[in-house]
Amino acid sequence: MNIHEYQAKAIFEKFGVPVPQGAVATTPAGFITALAQLPEGPTMVKSQIHAGGRGKGTFTNGFKGGVKFCKTKAEAQAMAANMLGNTLVTIQTGPAGRKVQTIYFTIASEIKKEYYLAILLDRNSSRPVIVASTKGGVEIEKVAHETPEKLFKILIDPAYGLADFQVRELIFKLGFTGIEAKNAAKLIRNLYTAFWETDAAMIEVNPLITTPTGDVLALDAKVSFDANALYRHPEIVALRDLNEEDSKEIEASKYSLSYIALDGNIACLVNGAGLAMSTMDIIQHFGGTPANFLDVGGGASKDQVIAAFKIILGDKNVKGILVNIFGGIMDCNVIATGIVAAVKEVGLKLPLVVRLEGNNVAAGKATLAASGLALVSGDTMADAAQKIVKLVA
């Protein structure tokens, strides 16, 4: 689960990670109230959306830059009006962009030097890893590729947590000395505590900065959480912003369906994540384009199948549907009955290819054949994929 920068910074403050003072607004009237909380002087105006690349993004109204530096608060107030309510397109949003519904004002800190700091899971070692670099403010993938010697990694033993010697090692590698070293060490320790205590999946601070007075601050904050652990963090669930999520994906989650919208025109409905991914792949292999990932889970109950059809049909690009079910334990006839009921209930007009395999498959196929529905049966995944690609061509 992702959250906004201002929410992430509130969590940082709670754990003692210093951030520039800031305030949020969701209405033009709110700009005044928010700015009143900040001292007069240089101010940053930051669009709050769940996507990176905001600074270099462009609004659909032509206005450039979702993050702006302003010399005064008055200027910041005028600048915010260009952003609020408008749609920001960045390299991470896709062409549709995201509507900016919250503006975050912060004090514009004086920057001495920029760094990069992140904490995430290292899959190879199954341990948390701190990744840091003296090259802040740029894409970390670029640093890893071009100047790997400027990238430092520290694996953390979950039995002991982050050790002081590891923090010192990082501080020396990043070249901090004096008061900066002391402040940076405290920040790193507190950030790790925040990561561990909140069940974060990833925390990224880019840039982390030093100021001429020796302060070390998180200038930006990107935090995501492990969805599996949300049950023990109601305070984090409360931060969820449904405006940032695809409405079809929200609907799908209500029925325990795992759905991800893509931009093709052949929808698929599959049981199991691996099979669902490879159904998308096989559609593409035979020249079609998948409209979505959709895993109905191992069971695939009638209600789930009906909900799945409705979600799929909510995507206006869809020109045909491929159902691919491997009924291992589940009786294929039960699944076939569910499909027939769902197709009748939603009044499906689009081409539909169904590939059923597994337990009691003969009865399942008979049910589909006797339904009077204009559906096509596929024998193997390859056969079914070729049929649906041909039907929508």
Partner: protein
Amino acid sequence: MSILITPQTKIIVQGITGDFGGRHAKLSLDYGTQVVAGVTPGKGGQFFEHGTHKVPIFNSVADAAQATSASVSVIFVPPPYAADAILECVAAGLDLAVAITEGIPIKDMIRVKRAMQGTKTRLLGPNCPGLVTPGTGKDSSGGCRIGIAPGYIHKQGHVGVVSRSGTLTYEAVFQLTSKNIGQTTCVGIGGDPVNGTNHLDVIKLFNADPETHGIILIGEIGGNAEVEAARWIKANCTKPVAGFIAGATAPAGRRMGHAGAIVGGAEDTAAAKIAVFKECGIEVAVTPSDMADALLRSAKAKGVTLT
């Protein structure tokens, strides 16, 4: 022979009185698997009954293991309690803990994995379908079925299957059985980013098993477990190996159902993994429908008989 489990393996079911655990305990009993004990704290002394089977329930894994000499436990415990259930298997000194549970917090698994270091217990999963060593009876019954895979699609034979995905494993097994090619053991290692046994661990076991003549390795986007296994195969394994990677069309940065199925960079995409497979002499299945045929091609090229 087989790997990890045999038809004689005695198993414990943790969460046997729950709907999910109970249903699959029954299916395993029907398959002929030695389900010798159940564990549900507070229900010790009761019995889990199915047909003529009367399986004793214990309060703890240690009690169950001591009373029945079971060496393997399968975990159907809900996510908040699953990490603890795994640690209980470790404390009881079991050989293998199979965690079916989906949705265990990553932090819990990080801690569990650290706690298991240096212990004798192997973990399979979590978020996995379990494993099956097919038997010689009708529809492969008489074998050992641990977890949630459909037993009847299997056939005893000489191919090992390892996969992160349940339904893709079934797809591969079904293709093999339809072609009259049997399996030694089919292992689902699970779709989570932090898991116990990985692809390479299973590949090493298959390579060392004289009864396994060929291997199907099924992977997906995210992480580098498949790459690590492929490089080891290139250096150490002469058996025919077919590979498939799911997720070629998955958008970067999105989790595709499995918590671990997410493209993080240029190296964990399907295309990158497939390139490594090819470089390592693994016969790549062009589509999921091609998995058994790919293994047949590799076996033919190496002059190996799979049946």
